[in-house]
Amino acid sequence: MSPPVVQDRLQAKKEVRRIKNLPTVPGIVAKISRMVENPETSAAEVGRLISQDQVLSAKVLRMANSAFFGMSRKISSISQALVILGFDVVKGLVLTSSVFDMIQKSMAGLWEHSIGCAAASGAVATLLGRDDAEEILVAGLLHDLGKVVLALNLPEEMKIVREKVASGPVLFYEAENELLDFDHCDLGQWLAEHWNLPESLAEPMRLHHKPEKAVLKPECTAIVHMADIIIRAKGFGNAGDILVPPISMAAWEMLGLRRTDFLPILEILEPKLASLCDLTSIN
C-alpha cells in the first residue's frame, strides 16, 4: 500500500485551497449571492445573469422540472424558477449544475447517490411537513461534495481509502479518518468555507455523519443524515462503500420520527427515484 501524500489535516486544507478548477465554475454562484444580498435586486435581474449561460440555464431548468419538485406546471424560465422555488433553491441548483461534471467524473455512482439522497431528503421533509423541503433537498444533493474533492484533487488518498473499503465491512469515512486523519466531511467543510456557501448547505456537508453536533441547521442536517441512511439501505447509487451507516439516535429523536414512518417515506421515495433516471445524465 502506498503512503498517503497528504499526511495531516493542515496539509490537506492547503491542498483544497490550491484546487484550481473548482472555484472558477461556481463564480456565478458568488455573483448571485452578492446580487441577492442587495434588497433592490429583482428576480428578473438574477434570472438574466443565469440565463446568460444557456447550457447552465438548461441544466437548472431540467432539474427544476424534474420529479424532485413535482411541479404541476412546467417552469420555463430561470426567472419563473426564482419566483416559484426561491433564490436559495435556484442558487443550489446552479451550484449543482456547475459541479455536475465533476461529481460524475470523480466516482462512478456518486451522482446517482447524490440525487437519491436529495430525493430521500425531500421525502423525509415532506413527511415531516417542512415548508423548506426544497432547500433541504438541495442540501441532500450536495452533501458528499467532499468526496468529489478527494477523488479529483487527492487521487492517491482516494486510492488507499478505496483499497481499505474493499478489504472488509468498512465505511468510507472510517477508512478516511483512519488513513488520512480527515474525511470527506472535513473536505466539504473547507470547500464550503472557501466558496462561502450558506449554512443550509455547509452544515449538512460537514455533519451528515454527526448530525447531533449541528448547531445552525440541526434539523436540515438530521434530515440529510436520515436520507443518506435510507438511500444507502436501498443500494441506490454508490457512496463509496456498500454499508448502511450508524444512525444518530439524537437526530432521530429530534425529528420526532417513528419506526412506522419508514413505510410512507419509502412510498413517497420510490416513484421519485424511478422518475429521476433521466437526471442521471443532465448534459
Partner: protein
C-alpha cells in the same frame, strides 16, 4: 416504471404518471393506455417524454431469484446494523415492500390462485 421518449412510445403501454399541460390542464391520467390518438395529441402538445409502466417478462423462478438477491444484498448492506433497532425497522419495512411487490408480480404472472409460494410475509414495524 421508466421514462421514454414520446417517439419510442407504442400503443398498449400504460402511463405511469398523469400528464399535464404547462398551464396545469390534465392531458392524460395515470394508468391510461397509450393509443395512437393519445400519441398524436401529446405530440401536438409538444410532450417530449412520458413515464410508462414496465411490462414484466420474468418467469416466477426469476422473480423468486431476484427477490433472493435483494435479500442477500440487503443483509450485506445491513451487516453492521444489528445493534440498532431503528435501522432494523428500516430493513424490515424494505422486506415488507419487496415481499408485497414479489407477491403481486407472481399473482400477475400466474393469475390462478395457488398456495403462497414464498411462505409467511413480513409485516411492517409497529410503533
Amino acid at each position: 416504471m421508466r421514462r421514454i421518449a414520446l417517439a419510442t412510445a407504442a400503443p398498449g403501454q400504460i402511463l405511469a404518471e398523469k400528464l399535464t399541460r404547462h398551464d396545469g390542464v390534465l392531458l392524460a391520467n395515470q394508468g391510461a393506455e397509450v393509443t395512437e390518438g393519445l400519441l398524436r395529441m401529446l405530440a401536438r402538445q409538444n410532450v417530449e417524454t412520458i413515464m410508462v409502466e414496465e411490462s414484466d417478462s420474468r418467469t416466477p423462478e426469476e422473480v423468486m431469484a431476484d427477490y433472493q438477491r435483494f435479500r442477500d444484498d440487503l443483509d450485506t448492506r445491513f451487516v453492521r446494523a444489528d445493534s440498532q433497532p431503528v435501522l432494523m425497522a428500516l430493513k424490515k419495512t424494505m422486506i415488507f415492500i419487496a415481499e408485497k411487490d414479489r407477491d403481486e408480480t407472481l399473482a400477475l404472472l400466474a393469475p390462478l390462485p395457488s398456495a403462497d409460494p414464498a411462505g409467511s410475509a413480513v409485516s411492517p414495524p409497529q410503533g
